[in-house]
Amino acid sequence: MSETPLLDQVPDGPWPSFVREIRKTAEGMEKAKAEGKDVKMPGCAKGLLKQLEISYKDKKTHWKHGGIVSVVGYGGGVIGRYSDLGEEIPEVHHFHTIRVNQPAGWFYTTKALRQLCDAWEKWGSGLTNMHGSTGDFVYLGTKSEHLQPLFEEMMQMDPPFDIGGSGSDLRTPSACMGPALCEFACYDTLDLCYDLTMEYQNELHRPMWPYKFKFKLSGCPNDCVAAKARSDFAIIGTWKDDIQIDQEAVKEYAKWMDIENEVVKLCPTGAITWDGNELKIDNKNCVRCMHCINKMPKALKPGKERGATVCIGAKAPCVEGAIIGWVAIPFIPADKLKERVKEIVEPLWEWWDDEGKFRERVGEFLWRKGMGEFLRVIGQDADVRMIKHPRTNPFMYFEKSELRPSKVVEEHTKRGMKFKTLEREEEEE
């Protein structure tokens, strides 16, 4: 009888099977070993199958908390993992993953990929995730003692591959394909992603903050990397001026497309009219949702005054509830993005690092501190575009500078009352 009767049932059905991938790896690694290749963990994939079979039987995981494992000079990027069946299945006693910083947009050459495979055939399980949810290329399963030599091999690849983020640090930024392949891109996602990644190598590699922090970059509001839901700092391409219309191309579409029902009526603000001849957009009323552009890519294009909106705070539900990022900076022109993003994010980090609680994401931190303080920290004014609607309670703070001189204020001052202020560490400045 098979050693893995439960897993044997998985390959049923047409969708590609992860069990088949693990088996293929197990066979490949054994064969490579047999062929005399330097394969340090030939039985690892097979070990994983064994453990997985037990999980399928027990209906629970058999992985334990990882200790801290890493490579020289780095504080993160490796997730330590140990099996609680270590004695029974020593092949997976250690089963750490390494997060390898993917190239922006996930473009690869076969040459680069083959190097990554070769190194992993030697030092690891031969299994990967392409890709992790944050965007990294993930090496899945190796031993502590292989981490360092593997990384040294990565340093020497052409081009070399570096390690991504984990722990309470900057996580590996990721970006949609943007200008590389997409006609909708309102700024250069790949370039900004690369630039931020390079600028913040230290923040990426040495956990130092109250909790993790994620950048994700999408070239337009379609948001093909789900930045709005999955990154503390989402940079979403957009535009400010008028949608570009090619009326001739609209007419081409009109030949077969039901423009009235599928475009005009689905515009969320009713900003479009179509008289059978000309498509008109009331741009003051357009919220740049992308629907009409998505429907008629040959005829419509984002405007020419392009840039990005920053949405802040997105995260999963632990601890305070899930957050979809909210608008923090309504617009940064495309040519100012590199500079402005840094000017915003650096004081934000400093502030959060100083005053954030342990395991408090930036979103939760801002809930606690209020957007007023955030704006002051990053030196920006409030914009109505930041809110769905204004506050529903009259419980507002006022700074002392906003008060009129009065006896009461005087008396408070005399008594040493500290008033609310949005200036940071006023006294120290």
Binding site: K240, P268, K284, G370, P390, N393, Y397, R404, S406, V409
Partner: protein, 369 residues
């Protein structure tokens, strides 16, 4: 006190039963009304399935009314209405008659005797809406916590919007309300336009009064922002001015925590609340002006701000489109422009209970320029 009670003595007998006060025609057609028509501003004709007809004639009042005025109204009701009248849920008084021919006289007499104008109705079938009275509270006339007066502001605003009460020329219902402090004894938290009194300085602790009259831990606990510390040794309280957002809750609990400052108390303006289910779900009001100073006796800045907002809506809304519907159509961006208001950080919710604030942040990038 526990002496023998007289024979007529009773407690817990409750209010008079409503049917004692209903006009005959109402009793007869109770629950059997067929339809109504607003035949002119202030006058509603109600027709029963039986064919019976009754007219209700509505008048605006200042709410604070004299027993002498009530008697005048009684005189008129006796003369024309078989002694029947009612008040509405918005401080208006309605005289009730089955005789159409008496309407003019009733209007004339009420107006002449009491000065109360006829109006305040709305006519949904014809999409002609009048402005009703402003729901309001006590203010300086009676309450101990107000940051603004109530009646004086209402008077100043209604003077300015008078024509909208006596005519029906609005595109939709518009409810205005006022509360003199954050306790909001009115529907201020769910009105198309509303005014609420706010303080802007923390309580100025009166140690003596605190010691005499207050329970320290209860008062401290009453603060939603945990801004109050008990100073156990000194037997008094201390306020953290950086945390206080001037809600007055502590003062409600303890007279030793007054937070009045004539120069810094004032009014916030809210918009876009709604109660009825018509077309759009009920909605909380939202603050659009953080503070306007007290300017008795006529509050010119506040009045002109309200009028500006009112007209931005009245002149641009579609038929039946209430404030929230209007703003959702044009967007808050455009509303602030149209009403010539300034958006500032105060208007972004940062009230203590954080996810509630978040529910008002804008997710996604769909906004207007």
């Amino acid at each position: 006190m526990a002496t023998e009670k007289p024979s007529w003595w009773k407690t817990d007998f409750g209010p008079p039963k409503y049917d004692l006060f209903l006009p005959e025609v109402v009793k007869k057609n109770y629950g059997k009304w067929a339809y109504h028509e607003v035949i002119r501003p202030g006058v509603i004709k109600r027709v029963a399935e039986s064919g019976d007809t009754v007219y209700t004639i509505r008048f605006g009042t200042p709410r604070l009314i004299s027993i002498y005025t009530i008697r005048e109204l009684c005189d008129i009701a006796d003369k024309y209405c078989d002694g029947h009248l009612r008040w509405t849920s918005r401080h208006n008084v309605e005289l009730i008659t089955t005789d159409e021919s008496k309407i003019d006289d009733i209007i004339k007499e009420v107006q002449e005797t009491t000065g109360f104008p006829c109006g305040g109705t709305w006519d949904a079938p014809h999409a002609k809406y009048g402005l009703s009275n402003i729901i309001h509270t006590q203010g300086w006339v009676h309450c101990h916590t107000p940051a603004i007066d109530a009646s004086g502001i209402v008077k100043a605003i209604m003077d300015e919007l008078y024509e909208y009460f006596t005519e029906m020329k609005l595109p939709a219902l518009c409810r205005i309300s006022l509360a003199c402090c954050a306790n909001m004894c009115g529907a201020v938290h769910a009105s198309d336009i509303s005014i609420v009194g706010i303080h802007r300085t923390p309580p100025l602790v009166d140690d003596d009064a605190v010691r005499r009259m207050c329970e320290l831990p209860t008062t401290a606990a009453s603060c939603p922002n945990a801004a109050i510390k008990v100073k156990a040794k000194e037997k008094t309280l201390e306020v953290d001015g950086e945390k206080c957002m001037f809600c007055g809750n502590c003062y409600t609990m303890c007279p030793g925590m007054p937070l009045f400052d004539p120069e810094n108390d004032g009014a916030a303006v809210l918009v876009a609340g709604k109660v009825s289910g018509a077309r759009h779900d009920p909605e909380l009001s939202k603050v659009v002006v953080p503070w306007i100073p007290n300017e008795p006796p006529r509050w010119p800045t506040l009045v002109s701000t309200i009028k500006k907002i009112f007209l931005a809506w009245a002149n641009n809304a579609k038929k039946h489109e209430r404030m929230i519907e209007f703003i959702e159509r044009i967007g808050w961006e455009r509303f602030f422009e149209l009403a010539d208001l300034e958006f500032s950080w105060h208007l972004i919710d940062d009230f203590r209970v954080p996810p509630f604030a978040y529910a008002s942040y804008r997710v996604g990038t769909n906004f207007r320029w």
